[in-house]
């Protein structure tokens, strides 16, 4: 881990003084994503935390070009950029659409599925902070069962988290990967790889959110690590259909021992109303999914 730190591109593409909250998982992930993708990148984003991070007119902290669009249209906007660049015969630019789970899982799923089905040449990045955080932590389909949100304030979220990564797998993309800002070098390496691949690539960032998940801002890294240590988040990549564990999940799969999900859940205020039954269902779901991934890794 130590020596890898010096291979990372030192340029900072987000100038200090952004509007993001203290200890924001997205900001940390975005920092490494841009380091990996470098200057020749064009972004398009919807109204979201990322849009707020990109700043208010006339100033932006981000030194990479970016086009804001409406909530349901992020992937379509990327399609247009890809088509426009092709029409202007500019080929050496990486087109990136980046949105949160709300825009990706819920309102924008149609545009993303369309763009993926057309194998549009772009990277779609979903930073999954498990709720509509920019507008005050309302529930989205990515919110885990048992979590308190401003729209499930008493009974907690009733339904399980939509397994969106599996939906994207069904599109049989050239490359798909899951990442976490708690493992920045794993994230960095995957974006470096994704940049070189042609066609639609889907990158999932599991992005801890202090004000939304109700944990202290100093614990952002710890929470993200616990998610991987318990198997709630599994770090892997799928290249032309071939599944491979990566980073901490790889060592866990080979010889490590997963922690119980309660270690992760108990450190976040959003789960303080989670029932035992919900906790057990979550543990069972994590265990069965981990078993599936182990099988896929062997074959």
């Amino acid at each position: 881990m130590q020596n890898n730190i010096f291979k990372i591109n030192e340029t900072e593409y987000i100038l200090p003084g952004s509007r993001a909250c203290q200890g924001c998982g997205l900001t940390l992930a975005y920092r490494y994503m841009l380091k990996a993708l470098r200057e020749n990148t064009v972004l398009t984003i919807p109204a979201s935390c990322l849009c707020v991070l990109h700043g208010l007119y006339p100033i932006t902290p981000v030194t990479v070009p970016c086009l804001n669009t409406t909530f349901a249209s992020t992937a379509a906007s990327a399609s247009g950029i890809a088509a426009g660049l092709a029409a202007m015969n500019k080929s050496d630019i990486t087109v990136v659409a980046m949105a949160g789970d709300g825009s990706t899982y819920d309102m924008g799923i149609q545009a993303l599925s369309g763009a993926a089905e057309r194998n549009t040449d772009f990277i779609y990045v979903c930073y999954d902070n498990e709720g509509y955080m920019n507008t005050g932590t309302q529930r989205s389909s990515a919110t885990p069962m048992g979590a308190l949100t401003s729209t499930t304030p008493i009974l907690t979220k009733e339904h399980t988290k939509k397994d969106f990564v599996r939906i994207m797998e069904a599109h049989e993309l050239p490359y798909l990967a899951t990442t976490s800002p708690s493992y920045p070098i794993d994230l960095y390496d995957k974006f470096v790889k994704a940049k070189r691949i042609k066609g639609t690539r889907y990158m999932h960032i599991y992005s801890p959110c202090p004000p939304g998940w109700l944990f202290n801002t100093k614990d952002t890294i710890r929470i993200g690590q616990l998610a991987v240590e318990t198997g709630i988040v599994v770090l892997f990549e799928i290249e032309d259909g071939k599944f491979r564990f990566t980073g901490r999940s790889k060592t866990l799969a080979e010889r490590g021992k997963r922690q119980p999900v309660v270690n992760y859940v108990s450190r976040q205020g959003r789960f303080r109303r989670m029932s035992i039954e919900q906790l057990n269902r979550l543990q069972a779901w994590v265990d069965s999914r981990w078993a599936d991934y182990l099988d896929r890794a062997e074959s």
Binding site: R19, Q22, V52, P211, N216
Partner: protein, 200 residues
């Protein structure tokens, strides 16, 4: 009509203080009360402004307050960052949470300047929330003392409207202490009358 601007940082309860004052004023019998946050994104620690309006009759204006009659500052460091005096009427009242006495703030221009160490009061009453001393409710005590617009009794009733009974009780204790410990430096020429001048 009296217009009050509350200055603080995200997470200090500026909006809640403005609301409690409106509740208290309504209980006291003012026909018109209104409170509003500054619209837009709030960030923990970033400067935030909220407002309260109090009047005999129902209030019809909803525009933002241009210059308030009173400015309540929950965090003295804001004096150097936010143009607080720019939105305070000539002869208005400035109430600041700071250990310093009013004279030490170096406020020029004719304002009533009042200070109280709300942070200390909160800490000594063990009123800490999310690692932050609760400085919004004590300032309601200082407000009552400086302006006389609402009584402590009605502030207590206002507290009960906005929080559970036990929280209201502990918060009222700091309101009282702040009221007692507030130091006022009235502007030179006019003594401060508590009577409200007739409607403009």
């Amino acid at each position: 009509m009296k217009e009050i601007l509350w200055h603080g940082r995200g997470g200090q309860g500026v909006v809640l203080a403005a609301q409690i004052l409106a509740e208290a004023a309504y209980i006291q019998g003012y026909g018109g009360v209104m409170s509003a946050p500054t619209f837009g994104p709030e960030r923990r620690g970033a400067p935030v402004v909220a407002s309260t309006r109090i009047s005999r009759e129902a209030i019809r204006t909803v525009a933002q307050i241009e210059k308030g009659d009173v400015a309540v500052v929950l965090d003295a460091s804001l004096l150097g960052i936010v143009d607080i005096l720019g939105r305070l009427k000539e002869g208005g009242a400035l109430i600041v949470n700071t250990p310093l006495p009013p004279e030490a703030l170096g406020i020029d221009g004719s304002y009533d300047v009042a200070t109280v160490n709300a942070t200390d009061i909160a800490v000594s009453n063990r009123l800490i929330l999310g690692g932050l001393p609760v400085v919004n409710t004590p300032m309601l005590g200082a407000f009552s003392r400086v302006t006389g617009l609402v009584t402590l009794e009605n502030i207590e009733k206002g507290l009960k409207r906005k929080m559970p009974a036990d929280a209201a009780r502990t918060n009222f204790a700091v309101v009282q202490s702040a009221c007692e410990q507030t130091v006022i430096q009235p502007k030179e020429e006019k003594t401060h009358g508590t009577e409200e001048p007739e409607e403009r």
